[in-house]
Point group: C2
Chain length 340, copies 2
DNA sequence: CTGTTAGCGCCTTCAC
DNA sequence: GTGAAGGCGCTAACAG
């Protein structure tokens, strides 16, 4: 009984056709008010619920959207997903989550699975080592909107929402300069030349220096492993510099944290001796005993924007083939670590 | 062309019936090897992909499972979801994510939406203020497996995976005692008597004291708001105690962090003067300059277990009406804040 | 305004 | 071994 009532059940009960029931339920204009009422009553009585699966098969739209991220338990991606969900849920869409664990093979599997599941669109942050573009082209060929968020591929027809890394770095560096720093170290990852975002952050850093008539010193760009140990090592290298720097702009909060610990262990006062700013606004930066300034990547907003781009495309078929590339301005979160 | 190939397309191309194609694709025993091969070739050629929607409508199983959590960008829930996904993805299930934002109305909406979408099961952490049990009963009435994770409702037919809060508290307290603490404060939330988990944590704390012949002192149980400011206030109250305590077991990492900051500001050395242990193993506890010991709730494992319970139920219909209640043992993460 | 018909894509009897 | 037919639940023509 409470298993599942269909429109046929309620049609039978009312001695009308299923089509009429369907129309009544959907508030079709050409249905008498009486019928609508009667149908609604019986629907309620029978505990009727529309089977979205049938609707989906019929219409070709599942009202599901696939979201693929490296890992869902990373705060950054969790926030992006939250943004997407907040935006899309009220429009009747459901989010199907997939993780790649930064494995390209899993990425391909995920996409195929989502496509089989007839999702109405895919929002994704690509793997760190995605090479194969063809899977993504298949999405596009199916006329399924594809929106990259944060990590993107340059693909005709695919939209994207990314962060203005240049600006983030610029803001951070400018802020340090305003705090009186003149010798600012830039901590970046190993082999940063290969990764777009890190190149852009370096550029932003350089530009800020230039705009403030501070000459760029290559020796102040320290490459290291992107984790606490890398930061520690970088700090040790800082001690070897001829002149002690008075500021650090790090491309990663984790590296920066490692550096901070090492600096403090060597009696360097932060921010008095060295003021520091990180990147990503990892949750822990706020909770430190001396909270760390950091560039916020606004993941929630990124998610919302990605969702909006999707809605735009799905609702304006003429936009389907037009890619939309949104570049979001980051926000600098100023905390103790850089405030003198 | 690349839009969508159906079994009819490949049937036509081969001059056979769609039924045969279906059988061939599903490796039906009563199909000639030849046919299978030919079908598979053409399928590949046409880029055929099974439409899961049609299959779902036909079979009544969507291979989707709904997961409802308060918020997805909270690390704890993100990890639970990751656990679920890791476990269920290889079995061909997709995860549909919903958030309640701790709002019961949204919870009801979510459940209804998921039920409409014909999910094969629902895994959820209830809202902080869930009152209405009837929605959950509707899930059960539909013979849809319902598994609570972390926050549960006592409902016949519903399974659950929860944490042994008693044990977590016991472990934490025992550890403090082993570090030499004899006057241990227990920080708990306002109105904790109303919330099961906090009551259990208090019990675990008491039991550990008793087992070590330390008499319980009501004055050492401090109720406060569950955030940094609450912790700060609690620390101020600690200074008012007749005898200074030498340990703190807090039911929340956030409260504890607030307390730590205040204690340090008043020249209390941690862990030397006061050793402290929190609860939840929030990511930040690990990254502190003096990392905080905390009880890990093993969210990843909880998610995996919940997924396994689901699979159990779905694969053994006779278990469908049998609830399975798994209680997970927490792990104490010992860090600087409690190591003397 | 309402009923009839057909079909979304697939699978599963039931015949042959 | 394979084909034909029917149906999962719903909606969109097309009639009337």
């Amino acid at each position: 009984m409470s298993d599942k009532a269909t429109i046929y059940d309620i049609a039978k009960k009312l001695n009308i056709s299923a089509a009429t029931v369907s129309r009544a339920l959907n508030d079709h204009p050409k249905t008498s008010a009486k019928t609508k009422k009667r149908v609604q009553e019986i629907a309620l009585e029978l505990g009727y619920e529309q089977n979205r699966l049938a609707l989906a098969l019929k219409s070709g739209r599942s009202n599901n959207i696939g979201v693929i991220v490296p890992r869902i338990d990373i705060n950054f991606f969790g926030s992006i997903i939250r943004g997407i969900e907040d935006e899309l849920y009220p429009k009747g869409y459901h989010i199907i989550i997939c993780q790649t664990h930064d494995n390209e093979e899993k990425e391909i599997q995920n996409i195929n699975a989502l496509l089989n599941a007839q999702v109405d669109g895919i929002i994704t942050s690509i793997t760190k080592n995605t090479q194969d573009v063809s899977v993504f082209e298949r999405i596009l060929n199916k006329n399924t909107p594809l929106i990259f968020v944060d990590r993107k591929l340059d693909l005709k027809g695919a939209s994207s929402v990314t962060l203005d890394d240049f600006k983030g770095a610029y803001l951070a560096t400018q802020h340090l300069i305003e705090q009186g720093c003149t010798r600012i170290v830039h901590l970046t990852v190993l082999n940063y030349q290969a990764v777009d975002i890190y190149k852009k952050r370096l550029k932003g850093y350089k530009q800020a220096l230039e705009d403030n008539n501070i000459s760029f010193d290559e020796a102040l760009v320290l490459e290291t492993k992107n984790d606490l140990s890398g930061g520690k090592r970088a700090a040790q290298n800082i001690f070897k510099l001829k002149t002690r720097p008075d500021g650090i702009f790090s491309s990663s909060d984790f590296m920066l944290l490692g550096a901070i610990k090492e600096l403090k262990a060597n009696a360097v006062a932060i921010p008095q001796d060295i003021a520091v700013v990180g990147f990503s606004n990892e949750p822990f930066t706020k909770f430190m005993e001396n909270p760390i300034s950091s560039v916020d990547q606004c993941p929630l907003k990124m998610g919302k924007l990605a969702a909006k781009v999707f809605l735009d495309q799905i609702n304006n078929p003429e936009l389907l083939k037009v890619e939309k590339n949104v570049i979001l301005a980051p926000k600098l979160k100023i905390r103790d670590s850089s405030t003198r």
